[in-house]
Symmetry: C2
């Protein structure tokens, strides 16, 4: 199979790997636990073993593409920064190590960048020219895709939608600032907002908040409505500035897309100017959990 590449998607819970053809079809898929607690070198060995198994099954693979959680230097394939979900992962030279072990060209990028590339090439953003992608989960990541290419900015860190300021003060964000979008609208923040409103002693899991909202719990509904309003308002500033033709929203919290999207779209309309507003659609991501693998394969195609 000369026309295939290996795709890897490295997250805090699992590492997925696949052999992917030129159409973005997954020919073989494997998944293993990340087991982050065992440390970065054990994780790297796990990844190399997974990639080797896939390569041995499809000896003709031409390249490897990797999407990893954390901030990634895509030019060197090194992890610039990873948070507590991947302890010790900061500094890991994913590209060099994988390349040396398998003797294949390797492209490494952030997992949200990979997902965004997949959605614009094969998913919800197909045919769109100026696309903003937001991934709403434990945090809020993002990416900008212009004419099918990731826009990286001047030093490679473009796309941090989660830290758009929505208030001068506001809640403390994980980044240290106050009032960032991410301090209002992530899964944990939505669950916490619901717990406060409902007078719970501690937050319940987000899927339970979803169930309560769908069963008519007004406080649960409001927690999603407020998060959607914040995301829409933050995105409106980008709509006015970048004039995109599509916004794609993915990430774990989009399991509650029906609760989140209507208030998000209403805020987007309210806070964006007519000509820019009428040019854009806000769509849920279409490729589901395999978007990261499909995008990693696209990254690999750039290194064949």
């Amino acid at each position: 199979m000369p026309d295939t590449v290996i795709a890897l998607d490295i997250g805090g819970t699992k590492v997925a790997g696949a052999v992917v053809d030129r159409q973005g079809m997954l020919l073989r898929r494997e998944q293993v636990a990340t087991n982050a607690a065992a440390g970065p070198y054990t994780l790297m060995a796990t990844i190399i073993a997974l990639a080797t198994r896939l390569r041995d099954a499809f000896p003709g693979v031409a390249a490897i593409g990797v999407g990893s959680a954390g901030q990634i230097d895509h030019l060197t394939g090194r992890v610039i920064y990873a948070n507590q979900h991947l302890p010790g992962w900061t500094g890991m030279e994913i590209g060099r190590r994988l390349g040396a072990a398998l003797a294949l060209p390797v492209a490494v990028d952030n997992d949200v960048n990979a997902m965004a590339l997949a959605e614009v090439t094969h998913g919800a953003g197909k045919g769109r020219r100026v696309v903003i992608v937001a991934a709403v989960g434990t945090g809020i990541g993002g990416a900008i895709v212009l004419d099918g290419h990731l826009f990286r900015g001047a030093s490679g860190v473009a796309g941090e939608l989660g830290h758009i300021p929505l208030a001068a003060a506001g809640p403390r964000c994980v980044c240290g600032n106050r009032g960032c979008l991410e301090s209002y609208a992530t899964g944990p923040r939505i669950a916490a907002a619901y717990a406060r409103a409902a007078g719970l002693e501690r937050p319940i899991a987000l899927p339970e908040v979803v169930t309560r909202a769908l069963n008519g719990d007004k406080a649960a509904h409001l927690a999603f409505a407020r998060a959607g309003e914040r995301i829409g308002r933050a995105l409106a500033g980008l709509v006015n500035t970048l004039n995109p033709d599509a916004i794609i929203i993915g990430g774990g919290v989009m399991a509650a897309g029906d609760l989140l999207l209507p208030p998000l779209r209403a805020a987007l309309r309210r806070h964006s100017l007519g000509p820019a507003c009428s040019a854009v659609v806000a769509l849920p991501a279409a490729l589901g959990t395999d978007a990261g693998l499909i995008g990693a394969a696209l990254l690999a195609r750039q290194r064949e």
Copy 2:
């Protein structure tokens, strides 16, 4: 002079015209009153007469570049929307009329786009790759310049920095929304904020507020500090998202740049993430009032 173009800068008060060489030098400059009250066709005749005089003085000019106030369709050279400062200007086919009258290729764009192109090519943004330009005056306009080219977005209306939302509610903006950057930080809004704080019956002119601030008037100083904070906070969202290497601030209010820039830079630092923040500088525009003409000449170069 075969290597020259005609540049025109159309504003609500004056129309400036110049013959510009390849280095961006103004070989001959003329200026006439806009006299907007006389209506759009009188204004168009004034512009054609000015361009004709310049062409007759330099018969070898190769093209015409125009920067005009208002929203401009740069593909057709038509005014999409102009406000009350240029009554009737909406719909004017500047490009077609000038081209027919002078039998030269014509490029037309928004005056802030022209200024931005000039600053990135010959001014404060020279050598920068990802540049955000803000023009703070009666309103707040903006432009994005990527690798030396204006970024126009999906439908040509990118760059409307003035309508980035800073608050869910907030003061009513001219666009109809609430809490836009422009509802806080323009010249008239700064003058109004000072008048309220100082207990004046009506706002005084902005240069007078500047003088008072420089003479130690705390309320005047605070009016600029608050505006600078708002501009910096709005720009921080773009720094996190676009990762620019330069922000250039121009427009009439930058006559008070020494009052505006320090709080602007402080807010930019406070609300932007470390890696993106360390990649960017915020600089005052360098080309002064001729930036519009120099930029219009650059637009013309694209149509030679």
